[in-house]
């Protein structure tokens, strides 16, 4: 059984892995930072955030000396699962650490309940 954790990430309760919700690619151990199994790309934020007056220091777009756009992709399908806006060199954020033990227990109960009641619950 897979539990959906974010828009693009599932946790497979059997294999205890982060998986891509779009293509099923097995990304990384669910007890670890999923970003370790992703592809990371750094870019100048102005490639996405267009400037209004490019010659001005203040031009509506982030300043590439202060800020780099970090895109985090699923290696299987290239879906952008997360982005970060970081000063150059700042460590990536471990943004989600799921308590796997609690999650497993919760869905064990859920599965039992489904079998017992013979009625489908909403997949969450």
């Amino acid at each position: 059984m897979k539990v959906r954790i974010t828009e693009y990430l599932d946790i497979n309760l059997q294999t205890k892995k982060w998986c891509c919700n779009r293509c099923g690619y097995e990304i990384f151990d669910a007890g670890e930072n999923y970003k370790k199994g992703c592809l990371i790309y750094e870019r100048d934020p102005r490639e996405v955030h267009n400037t209004v007056l490019p010659e001005s220091e203040f031009n509506f777009a982030p300043d590439p000396d202060w800020c780099r756009l970090i895109e985090i992709y699923c290696p299987g399908c290239g879906t952008m699962v997360e982005v970060e806006y970081l000063p150059p060199g700042h460590p990536l954020t471990e943004d989600i650490v799921i308590d796997l033990e609690q999650l497993l227990k919760k869905y064990e109960k859920y599965e039992e309940y489904k079998k017992h009641e013979k009625r489908g619950g909403r997949m969450v």
Binding site: P45, P62, G78, L86, Q102
Partner: protein, 687 residues
């Protein structure tokens, strides 16, 4: 308690703010009476209390004159005899936390103090941020409610006032370095006794600020609201159902909310959720870092802010710890606790770790007047995104939204108005037209409001021009591309330009960071919103163009900057702008930015991109380069197959250009920002 002043009490820990912002234990009476409130009566009368507050809020908004009051950034609350909030109608949920700290202070300090005491008909005035307000422009009026000589409850109203007698107009000057630059700091005093305002105290307050007429009118509005709440409670609840019923009802509101909040939390996945945010601020600018870590276990949530930059004395962007708790309430009651009452019970399961010596737990003499709207906004956003990452995998998935825009910039004005009277204040315009964040199921609403006050009103342009010496050159068009791009984009905001009108000049300032690095990345692969600068045009020929009804007068910022049809001296700068004189005919621009976005841009329905092109919310550059939509530029008809191909190719490109994590980190970790932008940051990378 020895008679010492508020700052030294705070410094010595004699004002214990650690727990007083949340509901205390029930009193003996409350414990005795609560079980006898039957569910039917509970439904009817808890709603009745809300309606009483609602009416008082309407009275306040209609009588008062300050910008934030008219737009609805207020609270009217009913508190237990011990000072716990039981029921409130709010514009901004900040005050759900605030007033009860002050009431508890009044009780502990003055109830048994023979020279003060607490009596029927008293009206307390307070604006001391150390005692629970978020900054000193927030002025509260607090009234005890007695029945048969017994103190049974309190009512309080809070409103942001236009001036505090600070070193610059508006009470929120970017020039402030300590609390002594920020004007009045009034610990609770009786501005009224025997149900009447006291002339000597009102005169003192009038005499202390730049806009005395507004101070008095708004004092009267607050007093009227308090007295209306008191009168209706006594006549419609206490005298019909009994004193014991009312006391039990107030407590039951709190207990039921606390239980409901615990149940909601228990349904979420246990885990740790984190947001790291950077704010560029100051003159000169420096990076600041704010870390929000949310620990969820069982039926409790802890917000931990370790990893936040140290307090600094370069400006007024620090906050007190209770300001941060108040900021969390703004998120919680808008999203996760949206269906629970605005009361202290709802916040019982939340804990806070706010390290001392950081920006967000500043020392007692720090300047904080701009803190809640700069650093506080960022904290609010950090909580929002960390909570959204928790809520997606829960029964509350629809609440897993991207954040409001950060930053919404405060815009301050001062001078003489068109009738020659002194005027000063914080404008409500630009705050109340920002965009909401993208959602799991739809775009964020455009020009949705103000993140601290979602029910607030974007004031009517004609009404603003009537009461203030302003002429809006433009204000009513969305600014294209000023939101985050994503599967569901952030709501669009606007940008507007104002010129002093029917006066020779006015003084304007704004106080915000976020021009170098966005404070709000999007959610789940969505992009951040815009980083708008401050703009002004001086020595302009606008008056001539207007006199000639010139066809070329620009109607939005792209026309203004792109075509430069107005002649003059253009300045693009940080939004941290000190007060400057702007003459009639010159222009001062303020952004009201859009929200952050949700999800991967390549998943956005191409038809939604075309709809945005038609409304000028998105530019063709973004449609083609960011969303990768192929379309006919004349008919805006989408070429589905070519779009699919372009998007497939972009996904392939990502897979090619992306590096494995460890390879990326190896190179990335060797880099560091220039030292000159880390002056206020603390130790790199973890302050």
């Amino acid at each position: 308690m020895p008679k010492i002043n508020v700052t030294s009490e705070y410094r010595k820990g004699q004002i214990n703010l650690g727990e007083v912002w949340k509901a205390g234990y029930p009193s003996e009476k409350e414990t005795a009476y609560t079980p006898f409130i039957d569910n039917g009566d509970f439904e009817i009368y808890s709603r009745k209390l809300e309606l009483i507050c609602f009416e008082a809020r309407q009275i306040l908004s209609k009588m008062g004159t300050t910008q934030m009051l008219q737009s609805g950034d207020v609270i009217v609350g009913i508190y237990t005899a011990a000072g716990d909030l039981s029921c409130a109608v709010v514009g901004t949920h900040l005050h759900v936390v605030c007033a009860q700290i002050i009431i508890k202070y009044i009780i502990s300090k003055y109830q048994d103090e023979p020279s003060v005491g607490i009596k029927d008909g008293d009206l307390f005035f307070v604006n001391e941020a150390l005692l629970g307000g978020v900054h000193n422009p927030d002025i509260l009026m607090i009234m005890p409610i007695f029945h048969d000589g017994e103190l049974i409850a309190w009512t309080a109203v809070a409103v942001h006032e236009g001036d505090t007698g600070s070193i610059d107009p508006g009470g929120m000057t970017p020039r402030a370095r300590t609390r002594y630059d920020e004007g009045l700091h009034i610990s609770p005093i009786k501005v009224g006794e025997n149900f009447r305002l006291k002339k000597d105290i009102v005169d003192f307050l009038e005499n202390s600020v730049r806009n005395p007429r507004q101070m008095t009118i708004d004092l009267k509005a607050r007093a009227t609201s308090c007295m209306r709440v008191r009168k209706r409670i006594l006549e419609e609840v206490v005298e019909t159902k009994g004193n014991h019923f009312f006391i039990g009802l107030l407590r039951k509101n709190i207990d039921v909310a606390a239980e409901a909040a615990r149940n909601k939390i228990a349904s979420l996945n246990d885990g740790t959720y984190r947001t790291v945010i950077f704010l560029d601020i100051g003159i000169p600018k420096s990076l600041l870092k704010i870390t929000v870590t949310v620990y969820k276990k069982g039926d409790e949530i802890t917000f931990d802010f370790n990893g936040t930059s140290p307090e600094n004395r370069e400006g007024p962007w620090n906050t007190f710890a209770h300001g941060i708790i108040a900021g969390s309430a703004v998120y919680l009651f808008q999203y996760f606790l949206f269906n629970l009452p605005n009361c202290s019970g709802s916040m019982v399961p939340f804990k806070y770790v706010i390290p001392e010596g950081t920006l967000i737990n500043a020392s007692e003499d720090a300047a904080v007047s701009v803190g809640i709207i700069t650093v506080g906004h960022v904290v609010f956003y950090g909580i929002h995104h960390a909570m959204s990452k928790m809520l997606f995998s829960s029964p509350y998935r629809e609440l897993a939204c991207a954040g409001w825009v950060i930053p919404a910039p405060p815009w301050l004005y001062g001078g003489l108005d068109q009738w020659g009277f002194p005027t000063a204040g914080l404008c409500a315009d630009q705050l109340n037209a920002t965009g909401l964040g993208g959602r799991p199921d739809m775009d964020g609403p455009d020009a949705a409001g103000f993140n601290f006050c979602p029910s607030g009103i974007f004031p009517d342009a004609e009404f603003q021009e009537l009461q203030l010496p302003f002429l809006y050159l433009f204000r009513n068009r969305y600014m294209s591309d000023n939101h985050g791009f994503g599967k569901y984009r952030g709501g669009s905001g606007v940008m507007f330009a104002v010129s002093p009108h029917n006066v020779d000049s006015l003084f304007f300032a704004s106080a915000q960071g976020g021009q170098k690095i966005p404070c709000n990345s999007g959610l789940f692969g969505g992009y951040a919103t815009i980083t708008p600068p401050g703009i002004q045009i001086t020595a302009s020929n606008l008056r001539t163009l207007l006199a000639n009804s010139d066809e070329g007068i620009p109607y939005d910022v792209h026309e203004l900057l792109g075509e430069k049809r107005i002649e003059g001296h253009y300045t693009l700068e940080s939004l941290m702008r000190l007060f400057r004189q702007i003459n009639s005919g010159d222009l001062f621009l303020m952004p009201s930015p859009g929200g952050a976005s949700y999800g991967d841009v390549l998943e956005r329905d191409p038809e939604l991109v075309m709809a945005d092109l038609r409304k000028n919310i998105t530019t063709p550059w973004v449609a083609q380069n960011v969303y990768k939509v192929v379309y006919d530029p004349v008919t805006l008809r989408v070429d589905r197959e070519a779009t699919d191909r372009a998007r497939r190719a972009e996904r392939e490109n990502r897979r090619k250009r992306g590096k494995p994590y460890h390879e990326f980190v190896k190179e990335w970790s060797q880099r560091k920002p220039p030292e000159e932008i880390l002056t206020l940051y603390g130790s790199w990378p973890n302050p």
